[in-house]
Symmetry: C2
Subunit: 110 residues, 2 copies
DNA sequence: GAGCTTGTTCGACTCTTGTCGAACAACGGT
DNA sequence: ACCGTTGTTCGACAAGAGTCGAACAAGCTC
């Protein structure tokens, strides 16, 4: 955390899902902005980071995408000047069958 | 908050589940202590607050039970000097089918 | 009623989290 | 090479969350 020796290239750090505590997965989903991102992502396919404009700054958006990525919910790959994000749905469904469905099916009474 | 007009009786405040934001439900589950409480509760039946001794003080335990209750996950009723807590499983399963199962089935690799 | 047991509430403290603007980095186009 | 676009990272800040001990309340039992 305090290491400033930035060597110029760092991979997105996408953990093995089985190594992520359940509480981290749930915590990642327990935010309104992130839930909207996941909802958008659940449509399928890849989307650039910039497409998730939910009323927060790009710094905040980047932060939320990092949280999702480090919780094992998304994968990111560079594509030109953009970064394409996608849901790790199959892995999620295998490890937590029904979780995503339950969360996404619930169409926001709040 | 500075009002000292405590009238002497306050109900446990158990909200209608449909009025609770999804993020609050997820946030309630996104804590290790609370998840252990829910796991214990998922065995079925009612348990007194004191039975959830997961290495925290009774003040902290009381706090966590309050979070669960206000997120609509549990119900509490007074029974003598104790308070019996139970999971609102049927309601949960109806509103978020598969959620609890998915979370509870995952037997803690972390 | 005195005392014990069981929980809740009240500060207080610390750590984490969401948020932003600004600076930086990487890439693509002109 | 310069600039614009797209993201990330860096402080900084405010708000929230988890933790505790101590004080309080309510109910039993003797």
């Amino acid at each position: 955390m305090s290491n400033n020796g930035y060597t110029g290239h760092m991979e997105p750090h996408e953990p093995d899902l089985t190594a992520v505590p359940v509480t981290s997965v749930l915590a990642a989903l327990a935010d309104d902005v992130r839930l909207q991102i996941v909802r958008a992502l659940s449509e399928g396919g890849e989307s650039p980071c910039g497409s998730f404009d939910f009323g927060v700054s790009k710094a905040t958006r980047s932060h939320h995408l990092k949280v999702l990525r480090e919780a094992g919910l998304t994968r990111t790959r560079a594509a030109g000047t953009s970064r394409l994000v996608r849901l790790r749905r199959d892995e999620l469904d295998k490890l937590y069958p029904g979780l995503l469905d339950a969360v996404l099916a619930h169409h926001r009474p709040a």
